[in-house]
């Protein structure tokens, strides 16, 4: 017996295994970042004074990064749409763009971090920075993870398109779901850390 519903959907649930799998994974991610946000609230409300993000952090850079990440979400979803339209070439293009935008995000973050370090601002300096580095750091790990997966589907993984296009499309959709989630987390991190 082979494992069913990897590609075709199961009638009564209307889903493939992968679809459920990725959403369950995202559910656990929600709880992970939920705990971090909870800690943020607890520590901030407990603190006598709390700095406004923009007095310490670089809002223009972060705004730029927000735009970058949002754009990457669009290119991601376009990549998947291209597969739907059976246009492998455009998929390659959009997926490539997604990866590059991800890279841009990381580069900008790198400059942000190193600038902080030059100013002698470290996680140990204050709880504000502790939260800033921990939250953005974990988010960055997710970005890297997402890029790795996307890179795989852009490169070696793309072979699957030849043998089983539908399955490949699904997998791209799933990695897309993760990528959008990473974007979504940033959408909340940006105001909480930089603007408030």
């Amino acid at each position: 017996m082979e494992i069913p519903y990897t590609v075709e959907i199961r009638r009564d649930t209307g889903l493939t295994n992968g679809k459920i799998g990725i959403w369950l994974f995202l559910a656990s991610e929600v709880m992970l970042f939920g705990a971090l946000f909870a800690s943020y609230i607890l520590i901030r409300t407990g603190a006598p004074v709390w700095p406004r993000g923009d007095t310490i952090l670089n809002v223009p850079l972060a705004t730029f990064n927000t735009i970058v990440l949002i754009s990457s979400s669009v290119t991601m979803v376009m990549a998947w749409a291209s597969l739907k339209r059976n246009r492998f070439g455009t998929f390659r293009m959009y997926m490539g763009a997604t990866i590059l935008l991800g890279a841009t995000f990381l580069v900008v973050k790198y400059f942000e971090y190193s600038h902080k370090f030059e100013l002698g601002l470290f996680p140990s300096t204050s709880n504000f920075l502790a939260l800033y580095f921990t939250l953005t750091g974990l988010h960055m790990l997710h970005v890297i993870g997402g890029m790795a997966v996307n890179a795989y589907f852009w490169g070696p993984g793309a072979k699957l398109w030849k043998t089983n296009p539908e399955w490949f499309t699904n997998r791209v959709e799933h990695s897309g779901l993760f990528w959008h989630f990473v974007d979504l987390v940033w959408i909340f991190l940006f105001p909480t850390l930089y603007l408030l």
Partner: protein, 106 residues
């Protein structure tokens, strides 16, 4: 727009979706600018927080609904996320209650 659609057909409604994606993209950009702009006004904290979170919430739901296709997902996914949302709420409620005086350290 879930994966059950075979690769070949439904080009038309894909085009429809692509148009939606572009619109959403524009909306997200706009909202990003708006939050930053508002933060420039230096409103009192609680107002600033509520506005910022509201905007973030809108942006978030846009991403979730359209890029992640939640708007047209299967019941089962909704169920899972509903459950998650409940416990997420419990998680966020905890620090609020903990710090507010008299609740925790009597």
């Amino acid at each position: 727009m879930t994966s059950e659609h075979a690769v070949d057909h439904h080009d038309v409604d894909i085009d429809k979706h692509v148009r939606i994606y572009v619109t959403v993209f524009v909306a997200l950009m706009a909202l990003t600018i708006i939050t930053v702009a508002i933060s420039r006004l230096h409103l009192p904290v609680h107002i600033a927080v509520s506005i910022a979170l509201l905007v973030a919430l809108i942006k978030g739901s846009l991403v979730a609904c359209y890029f992640m296709h939640l708007i047209s997902e299967k019941k089962l996914i909704y169920a899972v996320l509903g459950l998650t949302a409940a416990f997420f709420a419990a998680l966020l409620a905890l620090p609020a209650l903990t710090t507010s005086n008299g609740f925790w350290i009597h």
